[in-house]
Amino acid sequence: MTQPLLSLHGVTKRYGQVHANSGVDLDVLPGAIHAILGENGAGKSTLMKLIYGVETPDEGTIAWQGQPVQIGSPAIARRLGVGMVFQHFSLFETLTVVENVSLLVPGTKKELTSRIVHLGQEFGLGVDPLAHVHALSVGERQRVEIIRCLMVDPKLLILDEPTSVLPPQSVDLLFETLRKLSTRGVSILFISHKLEEIRSICTHATILRGGKVTGNVTPKDFDAQALATMMIGRDMPHLSPPEHTARGDKQLELSGVSVATDDPFGVPLEGISLHVRAGEILGIAGVSGNGQAELAAAISGETPLPKDMHGALCMFGQEVGALNPAARRKLGFSFVPEDRLGQGAVPELSLVKNVILTAHRHGMVQRGMIRRGRAHTFTRDCIAENDVRTPGPGAEAGSLSGGNLQKFIIGRELMLKPRLLFLNQPTWGVDIGAATAIRRRLIELRNEGCAILVISEDMEELFELTDDMQVLSEGRISARFKTNETAPEDIGRAMIGASKGAV
C-alpha cells in the first residue's frame, strides 16, 4: 500500500461546548480525488481549516508524507504544498488577475503572465491574465483561484464546495481540470454535499456526521440514496412534488423594472418582468451575483425605486414602487432575506426583540410604547410552532444555529399571515432536516392560496418546490419555464444564454 500524502489521526477541534470535529481519522493518497461528504454543520469546513492551518486542532496528530507536522498557519501549509480554493473567493476585485496572483507568488509580472497562460492551456483553465477580477464571471474567478494555487506546484488542493457557485456546464469543465490534475499526481480534497457529483468524480469519500467519521467508501460502489443515508444517518426525507392548485389573481407584478446601481460591483437590473399569482410558487434560478441582491432589494422596498419606475412594481394590484418595506408589509407582503444575521435578525438582540422587528404592528406597540407581554407570547408561539431549538425567547438571535434562526425568521414572517411571501435563498446553509421542514411549510402555504416567490441558487430545491421558474442572469430575466416540463440542462442553458445576450 502506498504511503498516504496526508494522514490525520484522532483530530479533535472544539468551539466552546461544540465539538466541530471529534477523533477524525483521514488518509489522503497521492493522486486521489477524495470527497469529504457531510451535511451543513457536519464539520467539513472546520476539518479543512485544520489542514490549511487556519485553525489548530485541540487533540490529535497530522502527518504529511509520513512525517508529523504542526500546521500553525496557512503560510506553513502552502510551504508544505497545500493549496486551498475557498467557497467565497479571496480575490481583490479591483486588481487584475496577474496582480492577484503576484500577491502570493513571487516573480515578475511578465513571468507570471506567461505562466498563467501556460497553466491555463495545460489544464483547461483559460482566463485573461490582464483582466480585472470584477469583470470576470464566477466560473472565471474560480479558475483564477485554482491557477493561483497551481503556480506554487501543490501536492494537495482543497476545494470547498467548488460547484455550488457554478452553472452546470462549467461544472463539467472544472471536473475535467481536476481529473487532469489527479493524473499528474496532485491529490484533491473535494468538499461537497452533492451526491451525484461525488459519485461521478471522486475516487474516495470520507463521510462526516456531527463531527465524526461515519464511513470511508469508494463512492462509485454506492448509490446516492445509500450515501445520503450515511450522511444524514437516516433515510433521505422525501418531498412530494407540488400538485397543481387553482391559481388566483396576480399578487406581485413587475413590468420592465430597471434599476441602475451606485455600487461599481453591483449588477444593474434591466427590464425585469415577472408575476406571481395567488396559489403558485415562482422560482428565480441563477447564480448569486447576477442581480439577485438588487432584485430582492427592489421587491422588498429596501432600495427605493427611481421615480419613473414607481408604477412598474405592483402588489395586490396596487402600485407600490414608492412605498418603504414597512408600508409594503402592511399590505400583506412578507420577506425573508438572504442574510439572516444582521438583516433578517439582529444578532445582539433577544428573540423577543427580533420579533418586534417586523411583527410590531400586531398589537405590540401602544401609544409609542412596546407591549412586552404581547411580543413575548408571539415569540413563544413562533418557537413552539416552528420547532426552533433555543433555550427560550430571551436567547440572543446570534446564539442560534443557522438552521434554527432561519426557522425562526420564516416562522415569524408566516405568523404575519402574508398574502405574498418572498424568500431569498431560503435554505442556504440549513441542514437537510430543517430545509425539508421549511419547504413543506411553503407548499402548505401555497395550497392555502399564498403567492410565493423564491430566489435560490439550489436547483434541486427549485425543482422540488416551484410551479414555474425564470432565470436571472447578468441583471436580465429569462422567459418562464414550467417546472415539471423542464430539465435542469434547460435552466443551465438559460443561465449561459442570457449572459451572452441571446434572448
Partner: protein, 357 residues
C-alpha cells in the same frame, strides 16, 4: 513566539459589562497616581484630595451635585444617539447655543419680572441646542456629511458666536469693558434646591430626564428603532425603519439636552452670559455616556463619578499642587481604560495551545 488571540465570545458577558467601569476606574487611577509620583507630587495626598475630601464637607458635596446636573443631562441625550451609532461630538457647541438662547430673555428684557422667566429661558435653551444640532442632522441626511466632523467644528463656530455677542451687542455697558452680559435679574435665576448651596432645580430636571431616557431607551418603540439602526443598519432597512429619521431624532435629542444644560448653567450658578461658561462639559459628557455603558442608570452613576473628579481635581490643584492639565489627563485615561475594558464584554483572549499528541 505565541501571541494570544482576541476571539469573539458566543454571547456578551454580563459580569465583564458590570465590572468594566470599575476596572477602568482602577486602571486609570493607578496609572495616574504613578504619573503624579513621576512629576514629583505626593500620590497619597492627591488621592486624598481627589476622592476623599469632596465627601467630607456639605459644601463640597453640594458642588459635586451642582457639577453632576449638566453632565447627567448632556450624557443622557448623547447616549441615545451613541446607541444608534450617531456620533454627536458637538454637545459643547449645543450647550453654548442653549446658554445664548436662554440669555436672550434677560439681556433684552432686563427689567422683566415674573415666575415665567426662568422656565421660558430653559425652553429657549433647549430650542437653541436643538437648532444647532439640526444643522448637523441636515447635512448628514442631505449630503451624508460626517456628523462627527460637522458637530465638532460647529462647536468652534459656537464659541466664536459667543465671543462676538459678548464683545459686541450683548456686552454689559456698565461692565468696565469686560466681555460679559448684564447680571441676570432675580426672576431669571433658577430656584435654589438645597439652602446654603448653589444646587438648583436643574438637578431635578436632570434626574427626570434620566427617568425619561430610561423609558425611551428600554420601553419605547422609537428607542427600539434607534437601537436596531445602531446594531444592524441592514435589519433596520429590512424592517422599514427610516435611517434619516433615526439621525434626526438622535441629534435633536442630544442637542435639546445639551441646550437645556447650557440654559441651566447661565440661569444657575453663573447668573450671566460669560465666555467661561464653556468649560468642556460637552466633551466630558461623552466620557460620562460611555462610562455609564450608554445605559440610563449607568449614566447616573458615571455622571456623579465625573463630577467628583472635577471637584476633587480642583481640590488637588489647591492642596496637593497638581497641574491644571491633570484633570483632563485623568478624564482621557479613564475613557481609554474603559474602552479597553469594554472590549472584553464581547471578546476574550485565547492563548493558542499546542495540541496534545
Amino acid at each position: 513566539m505565541v501571541f494570544p488571540k482576541l476571539i469573539r465570545r458566543e454571547r456578551a458577558s454580563l459580569p465583564v459589562l458590570i465590572a468594566a467601569p470599575f476596572l477602568a476606574l482602577a486602571m486609570a487611577a493607578l496609572s495616574n497616581l504613578m504619573l503624579y509620583a513621576a512629576i514629583g507630587v505626593d500620590p497619597v495626598a492627591v488621592f486624598k484630595a481627589m476622592l476623599i475630601d469632596p465627601f467630607t464637607s456639605y459644601f463640597s458635596f453640594s458642588e459635586i451635585l451642582l457639577k453632576a446636573g449638566p453632565l447627567l443631562l448632556i450624557a443622557q441625550g448623547l447616549a441615545i444617539g451613541f446607541r444608534a451609532k450617531v456620533f454627536n461630538i458637538g454637545a459643547e457647541g449645543q450647550f453654548i447655543l442653549g446658554a445664548i438662547f436662554a440669555s436672550a430673555i434677560p439681556v433684552y428684557m432686563p427689567q422683566a419680572t415674573g415666575v415665567w422667566i426662568w422656565p421660558m429661558m430653559l425652553v429657549f435653551g433647549m430650542l437653541g441646542g436643538l437648532a444647532w444640532s439640526a444643522i448637523t442632522a441636515f447635512w448628514r441626511v442631505r449630503l451624508n456629511a460626517n456628523e462627527i466632523l460637522v458637530s465638532l467644528m460647529l462647536s468652534f463656530v459656537a464659541i466664536q458666536l459667543l465671543n462676538y455677542l459678548l464683545l459686541g451687542p450683548w456686552k454689559d455697558p456698565m461692565g468696565f469693558n469686560f466681555p460679559q452680559s448684564v447680571m441676570f435679574q432675580l426672576d431669571a435665576l433658577l430656584p435654589i434646591l438645597l439652602p446654603g448651596t448653589r444646587v438648583n432645580v436643574s438637578l431635578i430636571l436632570a434626574l427626570l430626564a434620566s427617568l425619561a431616557a430610561w423609558f425611551f431607551v428600554l420601553r419605547s418603540f422609537a428607542g427600539y428603532r434607534l437601537e436596531v439602526g445602531g446594531l444592524a443598519p441592514n435589519a433596520a432597512r429590512y424592517a422599514g425603519f427610516s435611517q434619516s429619521g433615526a439621525i434626526w431624532l438622535s441629534l435633536l435629542i442630544g442637542g435639546a439636552a445639551a441646550g437645556l444644560a447650557g440654559a441651566a448653567e447661565v440661569a444657575g450658578p453663573v447668573g450671566q452670559l460669560q465666555r467661561s461658561i464653556s468649560t468642556g462639559y460637552g466633551y466630558a459628557a461623552i466620557i460620562v455616556a460611555y462610562l455609564g455603558g450608554l445605559h440610563p442608570i449607568g449614566i447616573v452613576f458615571s455622571a456623579f463619578l465625573m463630577a467628583t473628579l472635577y471637584i476633587g481635581g480642583d481640590n488637588a490643584m489647591v492642596s496637593a499642587g497638581l497641574p491644571i492639565a491633570a484633570v483632563s489627563v485623568f478624564q482621557g485615561s479613564l475613557l481609554l481604560a474603559y474602552l479597553i475594558a469594554v472590549t472584553f464584554v464581547r471578546r476574550k483572549l485565547v492563548w493558542p495551545h499546542r495540541p496534545t499528541a
